[in-house]
């Protein structure tokens, strides 16, 4: 039980980091859609895109795939459809 509580806590902490970085990426995406020539924002976007990729890699090693249709590698057996789903967390 203690083990699972720790795991859940670790999962949440890592997920929160991903949510933070991905949120900034959403914001910058919408901004760049109307400011396509802001090179500083593009630089920040690319930097964060790299961070997001790394964070997701770390999360997936521990808790399974995040991205559908080959965006993530599968473990064995097939673990894409393992619970919990986002609304179950």
């Amino acid at each position: 039980m203690k083990q699972t509580a720790d795991t859940a806590q670790e999962r949440n902490a890592l997920m929160e980091k991903i949510q933070m970085v991905d949120f900034a990426l959403v914001e910058l995406t919408l901004y760049l859609d109307t400011h396509p020539q802001d090179s500083q924002a593009i630089q920040q976007f690319n930097q964060l895109a790299m961070e997001s990729r790394d964070l997701k890699g770390a999360y997936e090693k521990r808790f399974g795939p995040l991205r559908q249709f080959g965006g993530s590698f599968s473990g064995y057996p097939w673990n894409w459809d393992n619970a919990p789903w986002p609304w179950q967390l």
Binding site: T29, T34, W87, L89
Partner: protein
């Protein structure tokens, strides 16, 4: 094509089993100014809008689906362990009779979602003004729901969604400015 990512855009936490709040929240699920309407509106308009703003409609439309999932998560959590008695007390008796705990695309008053909630006029200015209005209406709806909700965790997520309406409205307003001028946003660069 689209890809699902196994994560919520923003953490959704709910303090207590309160199906009454779910009844109100369903307004933003299948209501006129809800997230489904928003996603379908923008992702449909984008085919007949100038290239310069297709990206914005695509990206905001996609984000709206993430918001739809957040609303669904809230409704799911608020109702999943409620008894039929609690559903009845919350004014969800009619919903329960038809759907049990299943989500359904209707508004808080039970009217099913309809395509007439959204417009595609084919006129870029008319469409973007509709989008700006839609964002302000969704913002107002979140305000009214926050005013009625006493769940601090839920309100935290609702405040996030309200703020997103403010940002989307800002970007749509900028899209109008882009279409008003012939040259690319040179007034700033």
């Amino acid at each position: 094509m689209w890809f699902y990512e196994k994560k919520l855009q923003y953490p959704v936490k709910v303090t207590e089993c309160n199906p009454r709040l779910a009844k109100y929240l369903i307004e933003q699920y299948g209501g006129a100014d809800g997230e489904l309407s928003a996603a379908l509106r923008y992702l449909n308009q984008r085919y007949s809008i100038p290239d310069k703003v297709i990206g914005l409609l695509t990206d905001i439309g996609t984000e709206e689906f993430a918001h739809l999932e957040m609303i669904a998560a809230m409704i799911y959590k608020l109702t999943k362990d409620a008894t039929p008695e609690q559903m009845k007390e919350a004014g969800l008796g009619a919903h329960y009779a038809n759907h049990d705990k299943a989500l359904f695309y209707h508004n808080a008053a039970g009217s099913p979602w309809t395509a007439t909630y959204i417009q595609a006029k084919g006129d870029p200015i008319a469409d973007l003004y509709e989008d700006i209005a839609a964002e302000e209406k969704a913002r107002a709806t979140y305000q009214w729901i926050i005013n009625m909700s006493d769940d601090p965790c839920l309100n935290d997520s609702l405040k996030f969604l309200r703020e997103r309406e403010v940002v989307h409205s800002q970007r749509f307003r900028e899209a109008v400015e882009i279409l008003k001028f012939e040259k690319d946003r040179k007034q700033f660069f």
